[in-house]
């Protein structure tokens, strides 16, 4: 799981915040409840102690202490109810003390005499053996003949503790489950919220230089997402403009250069053919003419590229056999290879039907072969293979020449790119041949790839969709 993703972080924040709030609530609830229950028990104990004083001890002068003791035992049955009752006189004489409870939950002998207090009513929490706690409430009473009595009424706090423990256990289990549920729910919610972003991403991925006129779908939500898709669309629009401008610039520039080139060429040709001129001067004019021709070639190639960019290749669409095209082209170029002491070996399947602009695709073969011949030393071999693979036509030009350095490999299809700048002058080419190959391939929905090792040769592969039309009879 990606811990830096916005989804993960949002869910973590949700869960963390919720866990904190839950924890605070539980702590508050626990201590409040504990306080409330203890107070409740203290109040009921005090009430009972008061019953003893108001109903019995008031008349102790008339009834006698023994009567009070027997009445208390009858009324409250402390042994059965698990209560502790003790009535003492101020001089320390014990009038009554309840016996051990039937359930043996505590031993009355362990309950110490309470430290005296000036208050009429007070209570103490006493720790007994076995980890038990007893809450004892005491009441000081002055009888009519001025004898002081103290009534102590106690009950174990265990039921309260048990209840609190039970509650605590429930919450301790429930809290992580609740947090987990929130995390899962939050994850799903965030995913749902991010769904439009995923859609925008997906559409944005589809946009390349060839469909810059397309726009992303806009979710009419009036929020950040709608603004995001609008901003992205405006950005694509600006890219589109910039791209169109650069394409128009190439087309215009190559167009505007033609007239001056015509004049240069015309005048120079006229001079170069003048037999009265000094041969050295004529030779220099010839050199100038060669450069004019090179300029003309570059203009021509730039023009071809800008036309391919504009989708001009669609004008002469036809179905033809790529194998035949490759074979005849290899034949036509064999002399060029032999002149350098190279061999072109052509392997082609019997029939590889494809669709496209035949002369453009022939140019792909010509440019790739020319490139291979150029960069293969004497006695090398250039291989041209055409076959069908997985419903695609595969055209492959492989040589055992000097190869392309790895850092140059990603750039070989770029316009005016040269793997080796020192080479620029020797062949009279401008570094547009492979760019044209790439543009033609793109216009045909084909992919072109290159693999190469320095000193081990290069392998260019063009993958073209096969024609789906049935064979014409």
């Amino acid at each position: 799981m990606n811990t830096r993703s916005i989804r993960f972080r949002l869910v973590m924040w949700y869960a963390g915040l919720l866990a904190g709030v839950f924890f605070l609530l539980v702590v508050l609830l626990y201590f409040n409840l504990r306080h409330f229950l203890e107070n409740d028990q203290r109040a009921s104990e005090a009430r009972r102690a008061r019953q003893i004083t108001q109903a019995l001890l008031v008349h102790v002068k008339q009834t006698g202490e023994a009567y009070v003791a027997s009445q208390v035992k009858d009324w409250f049955e402390p042994e059965i109810n698990g209560r502790f009752i003790r009535i003492t006189r101020a001089d320390g004489g014990v009038i009554y003390e309840s016996g051990p409870p039937k359930d043996g939950s505590f031993n009355p002998q362990e309950v110490p005499a309470l430290t005296p207090s000036a208050q009429a009513e007070f209570s103490r929490k006493l720790a007994l053996s076995g980890g038990k706690t007893m809450l004892v409430s005491a009441l000081n009473f002055q009888s009519s003949d001025h004898i002081g009595y103290r009534v102590e009424f106690g009950e174990l706090l265990d039921p309260v503790e048990a209840m609190l423990n039970h509650l605590f256990l429930q919450l301790a289990w429930g809290l992580p489950i609740a947090v987990l549920a929130v995390a899962v729910g939050g994850y799903l919610l965030v995913q749902r919220a991010l769904q439009p972003v995923a859609q925008i991403t997906c559409s944005a991925e589809q946009i390349s230089q060839h469909n810059l006129s397309e726009r992303l779908p806009v979710t009419r939500t009036g929020d950040e997402l709608e603004r995001l898709s609008h901003s992205l669309n405006r950005m694509i629009g600006r890219l589109d403009d910039a791209f169109q401008n650069s394409k128009r610039f190439v087309a215009d520039a190559s167009h505007e250069l033609r007239t001056p080139l015509t004049i240069l060429r015309g005048e120079l040709e006229d001079l170069a053919e003048n037999q009265r001129l000094d041969p050295d001067l004529r030779s220099r004019l010839g050199s100038l003419l060669e450069e004019v021709e090179r300029l003309g070639k570059i203009v021509e190639q730039l023009f071809a590229l800008s036309h391919l960019d504009a989708g001009e290749a669609q004008t002469e669409w036809a179905r033809f056999d790529l194998a035949t095209l490759a074979k005849t082209t290899a034949e036509q170029m064999s002399l060029l290879a032999e002149d350098k002491g190279l061999h072109i070996v052509c392997h082609a399947d019997r029939k590889v039907p494809v669709e496209g602009d035949r002369s453009r695709l022939k140019q792909v073969v010509v440019n790739l072969l020319d490139n291979a011949i150029k960069y293969t030393p004497v006695h090398g071999t250039v291989q041209l293979n055409v076959r069908t693979i997985n419903g695609h036509a595969l055209l492959e030009v492989a040589d055992d020449g000097i190869g392309i350095p790895p850092d140059a490999l990603p750039h070989v299809f770029e316009r005016f790119y040269r793997a080796d700048p020192s080479r620029s002058g020797d062949s009279g080419s401008a570094g547009l041949g492979l760019a044209i190959v790439k543009s033609i391939c793109t216009a045909h929905g084909a992919e072109v790839e290159v693999q190469s090792t320095v000193g081990g040769g290069s392998r260019f592969q063009v993958r073209l969709p096969l024609s789906r039309q049935p064979d014409s009879p």
Partner: protein, 228 residues
């Protein structure tokens, strides 16, 4: 009587070069520098050929082309253009253009095309082309020099025949590629050099007089005078 050619071209220097070259070939040339003037001149005289630039101030070349065709179906029209889009080409051929030349062009190519358009049928009707002691038989595709037969490959023959159709005319490598190969080989001008070298080995090496001449920066030509 000299053939009369109307040249409609707004670039004065381009017009000068073409007019000068055509006059040197003994054509009478009228030059119009804008669309309106071009149309008025084409309307006023019966020219033997019209050379028309497409990008003109005033009337466009295409508009003039259509007007001329409405009035005169006969006159051959050669289009000069700085655009070489396929769609443009088709549009202008449909409008009645007879030929099409893209700038920058070699003057030799313009001249070859002008002559082809004015000829009204092939000039060299005979099936045998002769340059000095070289004979090229177009029917049997056989080549003889000083009576001895020379074996050529199909491409070598096509190259030689093309050069032999216009002796003494310099052909640019681009012209040769377009005629002997096809457009896909554009830019691959070294293939022409290789074939010319092979052709020379067979044609000129055994003889003291060399027929194939190289004009540096321009191209090749077949000439009786030989290479100096």
């Amino acid at each position: 009587m000299a053939m009369r050619i109307l040249l409609v071209e707004d670039e004065r220097k381009v017009a000068d070069i073409i007019a000068r070259g055509l006059k040197a070939e003994r054509f009478a040339v009228d030059v119009a520098q804008d669309g309106q003037g071009g149309w008025e001149m084409a309307d006023a005289y019966n020219y033997d050929l019209v050379i028309l630039d497409l990008m003109l101030p005033g009337l466009s070349g295409t508009e003039i082309l259509q007007r001329i065709r409405r009035k005169n179906q006969e006159v051959p029209i050669l289009i000069l253009t700085a655009r070489n889009g396929m769609a443009d080409k088709i549009k202008n051929f449909e409008a009645g253009a007879d030929d099409y030349l893209t700038k920058p062009f070699a003057f030799a190519e313009l001249l070859v095309r002008v002559k082809a358009l004015l000829r009204r049928g092939p000039v060299n009707r005979s099936s045998v082309l002769r340059v000095g002691d070289l004979e090229v038989d177009r029917l049997s595709q056989q080549v003889r020099r000083a009576g001895r037969r020379i074996e050529l490959t199909a491409k070598e023959y096509a190259l030689l025949e093309y050069l032999a159709t216009h002796p003494d005319r310099v052909f640019s490598r681009t012209m040769i590629i377009e005629h002997v190969w096809d457009q896909s080989f554009e830019g691959l001008t070294n293939i022409v050099d290789v074939y010319v070298r092979h052709l020379r080995e067979k044609l000129d090496d055994p003889h003291p007089v060399k027929l194939i001449r190289t004009v540096r920066g321009v191209g090749y030509c077949l000439t009786e005078g030989g290479q100096p």
